[in-house]
Symmetry: C2
Subunit: 644 residues, 2 copies
């Protein structure tokens, strides 16, 4: 028990969670390895540095976690996600690692079979074979089911002919493509005879060992980006490129030598979304990394806010520490509370992924959860890092203080691995259709019909923590804003109400007006997804507190949880008041309670954010590492001397 009034060790253990061992291993493995991001490098130098660092990472022994034991891996899916998110201090490195071992390597594992595993996995793990994940096209970013690249089987030579039919079908923003990748997992419409069987993945070599583009492959450079310039994003265009029949990643479908197409999954759409579902790890990793970047930004801003002084406090002869100002607390502490909430929700999500849900419905729920949490975590990162930059003033704008790079690097997180606005619509559709397996195939019109026929009302899905939550709700007799049962019920109720209202609106759709009805309700659709995720995240926070074994630590977490809940209600108070879920009087009380909680949590802010245990080497900002504090102290000593 420290002087902080809570058990920092217990909190750290709780936050480290199920993969505490992996987290420790990563901290140890990274310690002393020169992985800091480059300073003021041009794009080519930054890419070269990042590749060198990727090689160091490959040697560190933490990049094999997600691969099968049989090929030198450790078969630890959750560990792979957790280890990746701990690279928060060098996001170019994180993304390049994610492309190599997550997207590229992960696709070979998940969509390939023994012939691919045997041939490639060891080289992928060791980085002897750098690769790409070539899905997105210029014309089709979000609507991947309709991408245009083709892979046409030629029975005469037993080859696939991979081809880009027009410029908009070129592969776009492909990580590792502009400089380093040699082999690409290419998603294309598979055609045998004259029949298209939908999107499949194939392994297409794009560069020789000397780094030259192979015949028929045109490689362009996406050039400078807002951030992540250590990652070489490029464009791939294929001109009748021939690859052997065995290059098809054939876990879910195969083509016989004579061109006969076979798949255990009859529906083309279901097959496609089954394949996509196996790749969900990338999306979950982005959510985790967004969380880590947010934590790092908050640690910098809170440490600076805890040392920086500005404006003399009357009667004290000293200036006020900026984190003592309510406005400063209001900027940073609700964001900290939400970061805790998302951390626990992410841990739950990773656990579910790791334990691999058995049924189709469970898989759909996992995918929906991943989509929703990715959207909310990445938006939270964008907003929070922005706020941290502003809270550090001019110092926050200097590269040396890290926030500039964190902001620029994470900015695209809201876009890649699924555009957030599109993802939230998937979440809402899942809720409306109760995760029926046709869901992704429905399209607007089918959706309308489906909802009209079958939607009977919002179903609050069961989660691992649902029984605990129900117990708290049932046990709550108090109608108090700090009563957890009241809070949980309020979030439940909001979700049900929004979803039921949405269902009623969409049932008005028919063949003629389906697009208009859906489009006019789009803001309602997005709200439904958001309040659903809010509820899931709150439940994860509540469950985590239940696991805490130290009374004082739990008390502090309960205050953080209150701050998360009440900030959420305050931000959405228009809805709660409009729907008469809270009274004007209660709304005012909530604002006051938030201010009070900020004051109560403020003394613990730095300890709380430190407990996330980010590897210490990532914290390099002079404003966070004490230089600023020492400078200020010197100034005050001097000032005291001058005026004495």
């Amino acid at each position: 028990m420290g002087t902080t009034g809570f058990d920092a060790g217990e909190l750290a253990t709780l936050l480290d969670g199920r993969w505490a061992g992996i987290r420790k291993q990563v901290r140890d493995a990274l310690d002393g390895v020169p992985l800091q991001p480059g300073d003021d490098l041009d794009t080519e130098s930054h890419r070269a540095q990042t590749l060198e660092q990727l090689r160091l990472l490959a040697k560190s022994g933490i990049t094999d976690l997600g691969f099968p034991v049989a090929y030198g891996g450790r078969g630890d899916t959750g560990g792979a996600v957790v280890s990746l998110e701990m690279l928060a201090g060098n996001l170019s490195l994180m993304v390049k690692a994610g492309v190599q071992w997550g997207l590229f390597g992960g696709a070979v594992v998940a969509l390939g079979t023994e012939r691919h595993h045997e041939r490639y996995l060891r080289d992928i793990i060791s980085l002897d074979l750098p690769g790409c994940f070539a899905m997105t096209e210029t014309g089709h970013g979000s609507d991947v089911q309709h991408l245009r690249t083709t892979a046409t089987y030629d029975a005469a030579t037993q080859e696939f002919v991979v081809h880009t039919p027009h410029e908009a079908a070129r592969k776009e923003y492909i990580g590792n493509a502009a400089r380093d990748g040699r082999l690409a997992v290419v998603f294309a419409q598979l055609i045998t005879g004259d029949k298209s069987h939908g999107v499949h993945a194939l392994l297409v070599p794009i560069r020789d060992e000397a780094g030259q583009a192979l015949p028929g492959v045109r490689i362009e450079d996406c050039g400078r980006k807002a951030g992540l310039n250590g990652v070489d994003n490029g464009r791939l265009t294929f001109d009748q490129v021939r690859i052997p029949r065995e290059a098809l990643l054939n876990r879910y479908a195969d083509v016989d030598p004579d061109g006969t197409y076979r798949s255990p999954i009859a529906s083309q759409s279901k097959r496609f979304f089954t394949m996509l579902g196996t790749l969900i790890r990338g999306r979950i990793s982005v959510a985790g990394t967004a969380g880590s970047a947010t934590k790092l930004a908050l640690e910098i801003a809170l440490r600076y806010g805890d040392a920086r002084r500005q404006f003399e406090r009357p009667g004290t002869g000293r200036e006020t520490v900026v984190l003592d100002y309510l406005a400063h607390q209001r900027k940073l502490l609700p964001a900290l509370a939400k970061t805790f909430a998302l951390h626990f929700a992410q841990e739950e999500l990773v656990s579910t992924l790791h334990d691999a849900p058995g049924g189709e419905r469970e898989q759909r729920e996992l995918e929906s959860r991943a989509a929703g949490l990715k959207a909310m975590s990445t938006w939270h990162a964008t907003q929070t890092i922005q706020t941290c930059r502003e809270a550090c003033g001019g110092a926050g704008y200097l590269a040396e203080n890290q926030l500039a790079q964190l902001k620029a690097d994470t900015d695209v997180f809201t876009t890649f691995e699924g555009d957030n606005t599109v993802l939230l619509q998937l979440v809402a559709k899942g809720l409306l259709t109760n995760y029926k397996d046709q869901f992704d195939d429905l399209g607007t019109l089918g959706m309308a019909k489906f909802v009209a026929d079958q939607f009977v009302g919002a179903v609050i899905e069961r989660t691992a923590t649902r029984s605990l939550v129900q117990r708290i709700i049932d046990g709550s007799g108090k109608d108090d804003i700090l009563d957890r049962g009241w809070q949980l019920k309020l979030f439940d109720d909001r979700e049900r109400h929004v979803l039921d209202g949405l269902g009623r609106r969409l049932r008005k759709a028919n063949r003629e007006n389906a697009f208009e009805v859906f489009n006019n309700a789009q803001d309602h659709v997005l709200r439904a997804a958001r309040v659903h995720v809010d509820r899931i995240v709150l439940e994860a926070f509540v469950a985590a507190i239940e696991r805490c074994r130290d009374r004082r630590t739990a008390a502090l977490l309960n205050k953080l949880c209150d701050l998360y809940v009440l900030s959420n209600i305050e931000a959405d108070s228009g809805w709660f008041l409009e729907h008469e879920r809270i009274t004007p009087r209660r709304s005012k009380a909530i604002t006051e309670a938030i201010n009070a909680l900020c004051g109560q949590l403020r003394p613990h802010a730095v300890d709380l954010v430190t407990a996330f245990g980010l590897p210490r080497q990532w914290l390099t900002a002079p404003i966070a590492t004490g230089a600023e504090a020492r400078r200020q102290e010197a100034q005050h000593a001097q000032h005291a001397h001058e005026t004495s």
Copy 2:
């Protein structure tokens, strides 16, 4: 009258406003001059390029606007602000120009006298003398009245000794300091005999003609920043640097050869804030430039959104243009409406500055207006450019599409020329004290006493447009959300109510609890300032529509104004419902009306944003200039061919 249903020429004329001549002149002067920002430059190359471009700008004949006619200028203060904001496509250039001709040159004009004007102004205008504005210190950013650099008069040699007493007193983030500046306007505590007379400005040479730092001057480099890397920000430390007595910028105070201090303004604080007040142009320029950057970002995102298609629309065989989606309209069109509103408010502000208010109270109102509008415009820029980036997906992340640079460059606008959170507090204090001239000198304790004694209730200040606004309010019989009178009254009423409530809270303060009472109300203080600015901005929009001579154009502007108002109410619906200013039913109607307005404005979106008339050379993003549209058309033609 075009096919768009409104008169684009009339709209452009209205937007060009009072300085239409200057705007045209700048467009012509910049045409063909190679001022595009560099691509993928390291910091030193970027700085070199920006200095070269600054030289081209000096030759273009538009940088002399703000200087007195007697020294080769044109004496057009408003024109100087407007011309600067038109550099939106290269913000490093804009900021470096702002430092040289706005802050540095402007301070010599405003705080110096003939001896300084005669000696320096021609060289400043021609850029033969590059200079710095050295106010901010490491320890004191926002609280400039308490900066620590000293300028001690030595009567024996008739010199000032400029000195940095400790590290936190070094000048920080000084533009032009790291590389190019030769002379600096340095703000320091002026000491004669043993008496300090508060902060004054002095001209201190920092580099010789060869670019070497002068004896006693230590120059450090702030290094890489999030953006604006064409500007060489640096740190200045002075070690007993001697400058002649005449180097004091002596318009408001002077020191006789024997050390006698003289000033026409008795109060030290009033003198300081009078000096500061003459420098208000810099803050107003930042608001204007933030507006221009926002317009450029919106033009890029709207042009792309108007061409980009994604997801097939059932029954049409074509994909939907993304700007037809309600969610996309919701992202961009309320931001466009607010950009119009802020544009007209900015024009009003520049006009007031240009016409130089006579009285002290009017000057205070101008300063308050500048502070408030700077805060709201720069936050709007940060949010809108972020949204535009996300709305353009992966393409928005590529440097070639400009949004990355716009975001990175404008990010610090919320901080420099006054931290927004601090500025809003100044606005609120002005409102509470009704712009009494002591206001800046009060401090927390004095403020509390002052409010307790004198605050009698919110006063809605008179503006140029107030009589028009009152007429509309008085003439309004309708209680309809689209009735302008109702809207104006609602904004008025919100401001009064928030301010009155704040006054009542602050009156509880006494000597013992003053800090706590103020700090606990800080969110209330910020809200008061925000809703005040919202009201001012709305009134400016209303007045502009009144000036519009074309009926159909006015009708379109009225829709934009409705969207501005209703989006503002929706975002603040928690307050309006909590205070029973709108009913739940009306709140729902407002959401529906916003969606309807988005649909009505959508066909005009590109024409509306184009009417701002940004110099065409700034629009270089391939996604905005048609390449993307052509690519998509090609894709669809191909697709139609394939499936035919």
